[in-house]
Amino acid sequence: MFKENNSLPSHILLAAITIAAIVAVPQFLSNQYIIHVIILIGIYIIYSSSWNLLAFSGQASLGHAAFLGLGGYFSTLLIINFGLNPWISMVAGGIFAAFIGFLIGLTCVRLREWFLAMVTFGFAVIVETIILAMDWITQGTTGYATPSLVGSRINYYYLVMVLVITTIMAVHLIVKSRVGLAFSAIRENELEAENSGIDTVKYKLLAFTLSAFFAGIAGVVLAHYVGYISNEIFSFHHSFMPLIMAVTGGLNTVGGPVIGSIIVLSIWEALKIINPIQRMIVIGVFLILVVIFMPRGIFSLIKKYARLII
């Protein structure tokens, strides 16, 4: 772990290249569609990183769309009903999702594997049902046209890029901190972690809350960028996508969800040439193949070959 290249100059260089690339891309690319795809990839990087942060503590969620949707709904409703400043409502959406994540986490911290998967999946269904039942405020299945957050597409591009970098850095810092160590310890062996004095319940709850916060932020941006929100945001597909991305990229790595989001969403967009139903079948087969033949994800391959070259 300590043999990684951690010297400061290389980090600054990497940061400089990233920022230059982010600023340069829209200058050379006038194709609005590609910008659109990059924005979506960015949103999914935030979303799948949030999923992965939870997986870091050994908890796999099948209902992350609950947090995505709650963030989006809360922010939209705040702006529409109270005319709140979009920036405040964006943070509020994340905090609301985190709060619900904390509550859901309370019931989930004692569960593992299939039980946890089923219960998180169930919470997404329950949240959707409640949103539909509260139709006097959420307009049921009709949903809302969401107000724009920053106006033009290029502004969204910069907003998403800033959020992506902030998220990746935040996740990186969390994972490298004592909290991250506790997460890994719980993931590898919960009983031993508890025996060595780690308050597993506290850390698992923390993972839920943090993860829900970032998922909520992703939901806010997605809802405002796409321009409408309805109960469709709670669909199974939205819950499974971050999982597919994190698994493809590589579980339990900070870079995994980033690479996974880029690859899966690119495949997803490229598959638009075939019909949308076949696209779903392809993504299913893709997930199965990744799990069987590349269980540690693409990121592990990249790391392996990068080490060989350098």
């Binding site: 019931t107 169930g122 049902t129 579980l251 076949q278 993504i283 299913g284 799990v291």
Partner: protein, 290 residues
């Protein structure tokens, strides 16, 4: 204020729907008991079974209740293929991999069904469709009654298979201790295949009956699968008789809750039950240990 007739009907339906859930839960439990994996895509076998029954009836003109058998046979072959191609390859690795594989299977099965049969709902009609047995003011359709009978026969055969045959004994041995079973000369891999095949066939039977009494659509599998999971948790992992009691209790609870709260809560109730039980006892009501 409660209309007693409606309540009586609700309870009767609860038992009937509970029977279909029992088949699902028994199949899931059998696979879990023997292989120690949970197939989240179990509901997709229900969906496939329903469509196989539909095809046998629609294309070949077979009586739907006879088609149940045909559907079970076809789906058990599909189940064995899925076990060989997917699950057997990740046995013994991280538990998360099972979940991921199941999700992949859900995508593949659901959308293959949409391609083959479109997502418009379809109906299977039986010769008894419009006739019902009435007890005074309460009446129940013959389709429901036959379904309950079919479920009973299937469950009885399952018990005979498990208790009286050599394969059944090998399955029970494997579920108690896979390594010891292997040392006793049981071909554990073949037992895995058999269990998965039987489990999928049970789901196919559930699907066929579900298709007969309700209607079919490609996404019909997910929710019953979740309910089957809730039932397993109620009844204890790995116990078939637990699944039967759990199924009946659950069917009644669901229908009563829908009756009092309204239709949109039908599915949320399943999860509320599931979550409540898990909060009280994380390993299930009658489950022992992990």
């Amino acid at each position: 204020m409660i209309d007693t007739v409606t309540l009586a009907l609700t309870l009767l339906w609860g038992v009937a729907i509970g029977c279909i859930y029992i088949l699902m839960a028994a199949g899931l439990n059998l696979i879990f008991g023997v292989m120690k994996i949970v197939n989240f895509a179990h509901g997709q076998f229900l969906m496939l079974g329903a469509y196989m029954c539909y095809w046998s009836w629609f294309l070949l003109g077979i009586n739907p209740y006879v088609a149940v058998l045909l559907s079970m046979a076809i789906v058990s072959v599909v189940g064995i293929l899925v076990e060989r191609l997917c699950f057997s390859r990740i046995l013994g690795t991280s538990k998360l991999n099972e979940i991921f594989i199941s999700l992949g299977l859900i995508y593949v099965f659901d959308y293959s069904a949409v391609m083959l049969w479109t997502d418009k709902p379809k109906n299977i009609s039986t010769p008894f469709e419009y006739s019902a047995l009435s007890f005074g003011i309460v009446s129940i359709s013959y389709d429901w009654l036959i379904s309950i009978a079919v479920v009973s026969v299937i469950l009885a055969s399952l018990f005979l298979l498990l208790e009286k045959t050599k394969v059944g004994r090998a399955m029970r041995a494997t579920s108690q201790d896979g390594v010891a079973a292997m040392l006793m000369g049981i071909n554990v891999n073949r037992i895995y295949m058999v269990s998965f095949g039987v489990g999928s066939a049970l789901a196919a039977a559930a699907g066929s009956l579900f298709g007969i009494v309700f209607s079919l659509n490609p996404y019909m599998g997910s929710i019953p699968a979740v309910k089957a999971f809730a039932i397993i948790i109620l009844g204890g992992l790995g116990s078939i008789s637990g699944a039967i009691i759990g199924g009946l209790v659950y069917g009644l609870a669901e229908n009563t809750a829908t009756f009092f709260l309204g239709g949109i809560w039908r599915h949320a109730v399943a999860f509320a039950v599931l979550i409540l039980v898990l909060i009280i006892k994380p390993t299930g009501l009658f489950g022992e240990g992990k």
